[in-house]
């Protein structure tokens, strides 16, 4: 149907996340290209926000680094243009609703379409508030990727899932983003509830960092999302070349782990 859904047809999807502008414009472009070339099926580009309430310390720090480089919404759009010169990897934006609201729902979604950004993940825009943005997203063919949480009851899960396009972001655990060693939510049941009402693919995120965890999650869902662990690589890389290598190596490891699941399940 669309380029996001398509991705999940081939294999278990690996979705990487970076904050745009962390630590600067050119680095982000290089990182996204490296992540794509190493086997990310989708890259989520975070537009930094002053008060990222859904994010843990790792991504908060990345937002601060991006602001230090004077990252603005307009600059993020320019980054996408630069990224598009080197890769056609499907891109989605992850940001907070105020950024989109301020830019203007129509202008923002139109711009996404022009830039070839396929979807939006907005953690502080729950189902009940999506109606103000959805008409514009639909008009310009931008997927509103909903989040489903461990606290969402079955009825609500299915209500959200029925409206989903692109993919569904399954939040693995309570709390904010950040690496976790222990994910306790009954994700199997949660995903079965989604499956009863839609074929839109699911991807699990929040906390995943080891290839083993990614493989476990890929057994349950159609894809995995890795954010804080990638951001951590960027934070600890000494040079850009070093970071690009580290990212490539990391993605390759996770890719290999989840590809085994794809093969086993086929």
């Amino acid at each position: 149907m669309n380029n996001l859904t398509q991705v999940f047809k081939k294999r278990k999807a690996f979705i990487s996340f970076v904050v745009a502008g962390d630590p600067n414009f050119n680095a982000t472009v290089a990182h996204v290209v490296a992540l794509a070339n190493a086997g990310s099926d989708i890259v989520e580009l975070g537009i930094p926000f002053s008060d990222p309430v859904a994010d843990g310390p790792e991504i908060q720090a990345a937002d601060l680094r991006a602001f230090k480089d004077h990252t603005t919404t307009e600059r993020v759009f320019e980054m996408v243009t630069a990224i598009r010169e080197q890769t056609q990897v499907p891109l989605v934006f992850l940001t907070y609703i105020n950024i989109v609201f301020k830019y203007g729902y129509e202008a923002f979604t139109k711009r996404c379409a022009e830039l070839g950004v396929s979807g939006l993940v907005i953690p502080d825009l729950p189902l009940e508030e999506q109606d103000e943005l959805r008409p514009f997203a639909d008009q310009f063919g931008i997927n509103l990727i909903p989040l489903i949480a461990p606290t969402s009851p079955v009825e609500r899960i299915q209500k959200i899932a029925k409206k989903a396009t692109g993919f569904i972001y399954v939040v693995s655990s309570m709390g904010v983003t950040g690496v976790r060693n222990d994910i306790q939510t009954d994700l199997k049941a949660l995903i079965e509830n989604i499956r009863q009402v839609t074929d839109v693919p699911t991807a699990i995120g929040f906390g995943i960092h080891t290839p083993q965890q990614a493989a476990t999650m890929a057994e349950l869902a159609d894809g995995v999302i890795v954010g804080s662990a990638i951001v951590h690589q960027i934070a600890s890389g000494s040079t850009r070349q070093h970071t690009d290598l580290a990212l490539t190596e990391y993605v390759t490891q996770v890719r290999t782990a989840i590809d085994k699941v794809s093969i086993a399940q086929n």
Binding site: F49, V53, N98, P126, V176
Partner: protein, 402 residues
Amino acid sequence: MQETNHEKTENGRYGEYGGQYIPETLMTELQKLTAAYEHYKKDSEFQTELHNLLNNYANRPSLLYFAEQMTKDLGGAKIYLKREDLNHTGAHKINNVLGQALLAKRMGKTRVIAETGAGQHGVATATVAALFGMQCEIYMGKRDTDRQALNVYRMKLLGAKVHSVTTGSMVLKDAINAALQEWTQRCDDTAYIMGSATGPHPFPMMVRDFQSVISKESKAQILKAEKRLPDAIVACVGGGSNAIGSFANYIDNPEVQLIGCEAAGKGIETPLTAATLERGSEGIFHGMKSIFLQDQDGQIAPVYSISAGLDYPGVGPEHAYLAKTGRAQYVGITDDEAVDAFEYIAKTEGIICAIESAHAVAYVKKLAPKMRKDQIIICNLSGRGDKDVAAIAKYRGVNINE
């Protein structure tokens, strides 16, 4: 508690403002909270218990005091002070905390968390948690734990754990971020006691209802004393809880002018301000669509005021609505004006009020002389000023050893 359930508050909207812009993880909890509130609002046992606590524990009704010296000195309208500073714990915050904590208890919660700016809401929450035997954790920006050290220790005495928040600008908004994050982590046994008429629905409505006891009383008191309604109500506005509580029962009396006083800090034309309604623009933050101080990209601005309780870049959605419809007016009061008023009311009336409340007093000083002697102003004294004495001394260049 007063039923001020205007049609416009349905679905948590005040015109276009309000809503529930909050991560999915909290949505179900907010819906449970809304349902519980709607239920207990009509539950007579709950209302009786709350009423008893307000009267017998928190010292309500608070006095409506005729400030004769101020009235004479300013030479215009008659000035009445609604003495929320005389409540137990020294501010209006207790009205709301008793309501929300009682609701939390009914919902089976055993732990409460809250943000605080000046520390008054934190103290009120810690107090009620102690009374109810609940665990309590308070989030407070590092800048505020520094300038309101007395309140930090009060909270600890009451058995609460105080987290000094070091992210962002380290003030009230950052404390709210941290408390919201904690709630996202743990909401099954934990209630978030919101300190102002802000945040996602149902908080603005609930806080307004719990605080509207202020205007319910003041209306009866002024009718008794003067046989008529006041001409103006003046209250300070941080997130807007004492102001909305002071306004609520007069909103449908258009002859009563409603005036909110925001913290202009060093001046509304400077970046060192917290005058949201004068300088802000529409946005969505902390779960609500409202007016915020922000840049053109929607990044929330660091704000400034001498008053930790007014140092917030947003305002509750009902105030945004009252401002937009013109039903209420909002004015900025600078640090200097507030400190002058703090000293003025101490000397004329023998009342040391909170620096937050002094913003309202400062506007009354400007307004009263322009009004006729047969007109009436009610000024809400939202809190007492013990917590501010050291900071004001410092502002005047006096260092006192606490």
